[in-house]
Every structure is written in structure tokens, then in C-alpha cells.
């Protein structure tokens, strides 16, 4: 039979953080599953949840649990079928020679962060460490890290694979100190794979095939990072290769952390999910708890032999 056309909407521009999908396309793993997959990049003003819910895209690698919860809260019929990053993908960075040695030192300092989820992690961390977030000067973070490099801000939020790399290359890693969410008992899994309820119900084989091929792609990417970066740079040739190689190793750490060694890539750790939900309930980002059973569906993953899923 002809391969079924399908699309994957990314949460962001083509980068090595999505290498596994590009590798799977390049190696024909989706074709082998009977799927003719097109990868659509994300961008600053589009939201994967929305496009998947309406059927404009079949699959989505969406922002994270934050956006999945928000979408369900607003009644968007999306189902999470896998989680990519098992740990909080961003860290809070300060100057090593600066006055901030601990999270308590954030008090009265200028901290910038993304108001798209990261702000809730920051607040949770501060609260856990006994610091009232109201005492910290929290501001939206701009695209550029230059204000931090120039010393205009004290704490900056950075994805481990993107902003952190940029700061590191400008200032040198030894000049930096980082604060990790998990150290404060906060965790925030991101980069979720989603499908619409319709797809989940009517095309389970498609979802399974997609997951199988994607996992294969990612395993190949981890095995051959250079080749994986090649596949990405074919799509976005203006990227900086060194940065992308760094990104892939960082993403590998995020994707293979936690229970993944046992449960396999994209595993949905319901404990982590519940912690994150509580975080959002506390922050009043969502009005009421969402139906976790309807929102998270591990059956597609579970249909794939565990051995195949393990990294």
C-alpha cells in the first residue's frame, strides 16, 4: 500500500535538538512503517497543540507539559503519547565571580526568564528554597543573551543546549555558575509528543509506527552524532556545526535521563507528570486538574517491545 501522508510539527526551528526525527526521515524509517512524513518547523507565533488539535498536523513535538496542560485546560483534544526531555531542559545562570552563590541570593536581583513555563519553574524553585518570588525582580527574557554577557542582568535562563552554549562561548564556562531545577526538587519534563484524540482513537497503528520509527531514528542519532547533525544541517545549512554537535550531546542527556534506561525513550513518567501538574495548579496556570488518563496515553509506547525502546 502507498505510505500514508502525515506531518510532524516541531516546537521550534530545525535544530539538532530534533535530530532523531530528521535521521528517521533520511533513513526511510517512517516509509518502512508506511508513513510519508513531512517535518514542519515551529516558530514564534504558532503552537503545535493548536495545529494538532485541528488536524492541520498529525503529530506534534510540542513545548512541553506546560503547553499540554494549558491546551487540555482550554479544551483542545490533544493526547500526549510520549515525553522527550525527562528533566528540566533549562538552567539558571549567574556569573561565577558575582555575588550570587545560592538561590537565596536571587533576592532583589534582576532575573530574566521565559514567561512560557520557565517562570513557573523559577517560582517553584524559589518557593521551595524559602524565598518569596515577589522579592525577586523577574522580567521577561529577550531573544539575546547579550544583556547578561554585558552585565545588565544578574540571572538568565538558558536551555542547556542553546543559550547556555552561546553564553559559554562568549564568556567561558569557568566564568559561569548554574542552578538546576531538580536540585530544588522541581522537575519540568518538556518536549512532548502529541496527537489529536481522533488520531489516537482511529489510527493507533499510525501512532505506533511513528513512535517506532522515531525511536529508531533517535538511537541512530545517538550512535552517529556526526551523521545526525549532517541530516539536520541539510535542512538548515546556515546552522553552526559545533553548536549543533554540542546540542545533540546535551539533548541525549535530557532524553536518556530518569527512568528511560529501564522504560525506554519517550517514556511518560506519571510521577513527574503529577509533580508538574501540581506546580501549575499552584501557579493557577490551569484552573483545575486535567483528566490525566485522557491526556496521557502510554499504550502506543507499550505496544513497542521494551528492548527496542531502550536507548
Amino acid at each position: 500500500a502507498d505510505p500514508v501522508p502525515a506531518t510532524l510539527r516541531l516546537k521550534w526551528l530545525p535544530q539538532a535538538q530534533f535530530a532523531g526525527f530528521y535521521v528517521a526521515v533520511a533513513k526511510g524509517y517512517y516509509k518502512a512503517e508506511g508513513i510519508d512524513l513531512t517535518i514542519n518547523p515551529g516558530g514564534p507565533n504558532i503552537l503545535a497543540e493548536n495545529l494538532v488539535a485541528t488536524g492541520a498536523d498529525t503529530f506534534g513535538l510540542s513545548g512541553g507539559l506546560d503547553s499540554v496542560f494549558a491546551a487540555r485546560d482550554k479544551g483542545l483534544p490533544v493526547v500526549c503519547v510520549g515525553i522527550s526531555h525527562q528533566l528540566t531542559p533549562f538552567v539558571f545562570v549567574v556569573r561565577a565571580d558575582g555575588p550570587i552563590k545560592s538561590i537565596q541570593d536571587f533576592k532583589g536581583k534582576k532575573v530574566t526568564t521565559w514567561f512560557t513555563g520557565a517562570n513557573h519553574v523559577l517560582k517553584a524553585m524559589l518557593t521551595k528554597q524559602g524565598l518569596d518570588p515577589a522579592l525577586v525582580d523577574i522580567q521577561p527574557q529577550q531573544v539575546s543573551v547579550t544583556p547578561f554577557v554585558d552585565g545588565q542582568i544578574d540571572v538568565i535562563t538558558a536551555t542547556r543546549y542553546n543559550e547556555f552554549y552561546t553564553i559559554k562561548t562568549r564568556m567561558g564556562e569557568e566564568k559561569l555558575r548554574t542552578f538546576v531545577a531538580e536540585d530544588s526538587g522541581v522537575t519540568f519534563p518538556r518536549d512532548t509528543l502529541i496527537v489529536s484524540e481522533t488520531t489516537a482513537k482511529e489510527k493507533p497503528e499510525l501512532v505506533k509506527g511513528f513512535l517506532r520509527a522515531s525511536i529508531k531514528g533517535w538511537k541512530d542519532a545517538f550512535a552517529d552524532p556526526k551523521g545526525a547533525v549532517d541530516a539536520v544541517m541539510k535542512v538548515a545549512p546556515t546552522l553552526d556545526r559545533a553548536h549543533q554537535e554540542f546540542m545533540l550531546t546535551e539533548v541525549q542527556k535530557l532524553m536518556t535521563a530518569g527512568k528511560v534506561k529501564e522504560d525506554g525513550l519517550f517514556w511518560i513518567d506519571m510521577d513527574a507528570v503529577k509533580i508538574t501538574q501540581q506546580l501549575f495548579l499552584d501557579a493557577k496556570v490551569i484552573a483545575k486538574p486535567v483528566d490525566l488518563d485522557a491526556t496521557f496515553n502510554r499504550s502506543f509506547l507499550e505496544a513497542i517491545p521494551l528492548a527496542d525502546r531502550r536507548p
Binding site: 510539527r9 516541531l10 521550534w12 526551528l13 530545525p14 535544530q15 514542519n40 518547523p41 515551529g42 516558530g43 514564534p44 507565533n45 504558532i46 503552537l47 493548536n50 495545529l51 485541528t54 492541520a56 531573544v143 539575546s144 543573551v145 547579550t146 542553546n162 552561546t166 562568549r170 535542512v235 538548515a236 545549512p237 546556515t238 546552522l239 553552526d240 553548536h243
Partner: protein, 263 residues
């Protein structure tokens, strides 16, 4: 001024070449000066990179720039042509049917106060990640000034000229074809020049809604990867496209509206 004493047909071409060469020389001088100043004052590359770096970046991986240029050009042209045609058509319709004008024109005006960029998702929803989606945004930005100016141009046709043609027995279609449209042409071209820039904006913004090829994509990647050299490279390509397209429209104007604002 003797009748029939036209200058050599090569003269305008030579003029264009000469002006082009002079422009190129000035551009080169500016680039060299910028390079010198940046080196001299030690400007950090993430504020303003040296022009040589920018040119180097384009030459290192020319395909995305060439492809992006062609893709964005295609989208721009589609949006521009459809917008211009629609604008002229609605201008004519509004001119002919005042009721329609009074009913619909205010909606057109309001539509132009909406920042499309807020509707990335809707645009993708309706048109997908297709050329059509970009052309649609480009069209949306383009048609309005053309409608307005077509209407203005048609409305400001000398009523005495209309009376003259009517006295020759001309009907509505003859009036439109022989008098009103040609007379509105200078005004329409003013809008088309404006629209040439707007259609490019539309194409670029359209590419921000999840696409893989185009100058808008390159711009976005440069921005979010904090790659200032890439941003400048994309801007340079945009400038090339913008200037080129504007020049073509302006040249068409000079050729078609040779009589200028005379009257």
C-alpha cells in the same frame, strides 16, 4: 526640439548601466568604510559584524540564500500580482457601485488594522505550510493601497474629459477603457510602488509561521540562534530583493506612465 529627433535607443541603456556602476562603486566604498570602522573601533561582532564576515557567510553556504531568495521572490510575486489585480478590480467595482463601496470599504479599512502576525496559527490552519499561505498574507498587505489609489485615481478623472467622451457617444465600458483606467494609472502606480515593499513584508512574515525555505526563515534562524552574521546576511538578501523589485516596478511605471503627473 524637432519632431522625430529621438535620441539613440542605446542612450537610456547606457544611462542605466552608468547609474548601476556608480551605485555599485558607492556600495563598495560604504562596505570598505564600514569594515575599517568596525575594525578600528573594535565593535563586537554580535553588535555589528564586519561586512566581510557577512559576505563570507553567504559565500560559504550559498544554496540556502539563493533558494531563499527565489522562494521569497516567488511568494512576493504571487502576493503582489494577486493583490494588485484584486485591488484594481475592487477599486473599479467600488467606483462603479457606490453602495458596495459604502458597505464594504469600511470593512477593508478595519481589516488593515489587524496585525496578521497574530494569526500565524490560523494562516497555517487555513492554507497549510504552502506557498499559498505566504502569498495570501502578501496579498492581504498589498491589495488595500491599490484599492484606495485606484479608487482615488478613478474618482479624480477630469469630469470634463468624461463629458467629452460621453458626447462622442462613449458608454461606461469605453469610458473605463479609454479614459478612466489610463487616467488613474499614475495614481495606481504610486500604490504599486508601495505595494512592492509591502508584498515582500508579507512574504517574510508569512515564512515565520513554520517554514523551511525563504529569507524570512533565514532571518528567524539568525535571530533565534543569536547569529548576528546570519541576520545581516539575510538582511542583505532582503535588501537585494526589495531594491530589485522596487526598481522593476519603478521602471515599469516610467515606461507606462511616461506622461507623468502632467494634466
Amino acid at each position: 526640439m524637432r519632431p522625430g529627433a529621438t535620441p539613440s535607443p542605446l542612450a537610456p541603456l547606457a544611462g542605466v548601466l552608468l547609474r548601476g556602476a556608480r551605485g555599485l562603486a558607492i556600495l563598495l566604498a560604504v562596505l570598505v568604510a564600514a569594515e575599517g570602522l568596525i575594525v578600528l573601533f573594535g565593535v563586537k561582532p554580535w553588535y555589528v559584524p564586519r561586512p566581510s564576515l557577512v559576505i563570507g557567510a553567504i559565500l560559504a553556504t550559498p544554496e540556502p540564500y539563493v533558494q531563499g531568495f527565489l522562494r521569497t521572490l516567488t511568494e512576493t510575486l504571487m502576493g503582489f500580482v494577486s493583490g494588485a489585480l484584486f485591488g484594481i478590480a475592487t477599486g473599479v467595482v467600488f467606483f462603479r457601485a457606490k453602495v458596495l463601496k459604502e458597505l464594504i470599504f469600511p470593512i477593508f479599512v478595519v481589516s488593515q488594522t489587524i496585525p496578521v502576525i497574530a494569526f500565524g496559527a490560523l494562516v497555517v490552519l487555513w492554507f497549510g505550510n504552502t506557498l499559498i499561505a505566504k502569498a495570501a498574507i502578501s496579498f492581504y498587505l498589498t491589495f488595500f493601497p491599490v484599492t484606495v489609489n485606484t479608487l482615488l485615481g478613478l474618482e479624480s478623472v477630469d469630469p470634463r474629459q468624461e463629458a467629452l467622451l460621453r458626447s462622442f457617444g462613449a458608454g461606461r465600458f469605453q469610458l473605463l477603457r479609454r479614459l478612466q483606467l489610463p487616467a488613474a494609472l499614475p495614481q495606481i502606480f504610486v500604490a504599486l510602488r508601495l505595494a512592492s515593499a509591502l508584498s515582500l513584508v508579507g512574504a517574510i512574515v508569512g515564512e515565520w509561521f513554520g517554514d523551511t525555505v525563504g529569507l524570512g526563515v533565514l532571518l528567524l534562524q539568525g535571530m533565534y540562534n543569536e547569529n548576528v552574521v546570519a541576520i545581516w546576511a539575510a538582511i542583505a538578501m532582503c535588501a537585494l530583493l526589495g531594491t530589485g523589485f522596487y526598481a522593476v516596478v519603478a521602471a515599469a511605471e516610467r515606461a507606462l506612465v511616461f506622461w507623468g503627473a502632467e494634466q
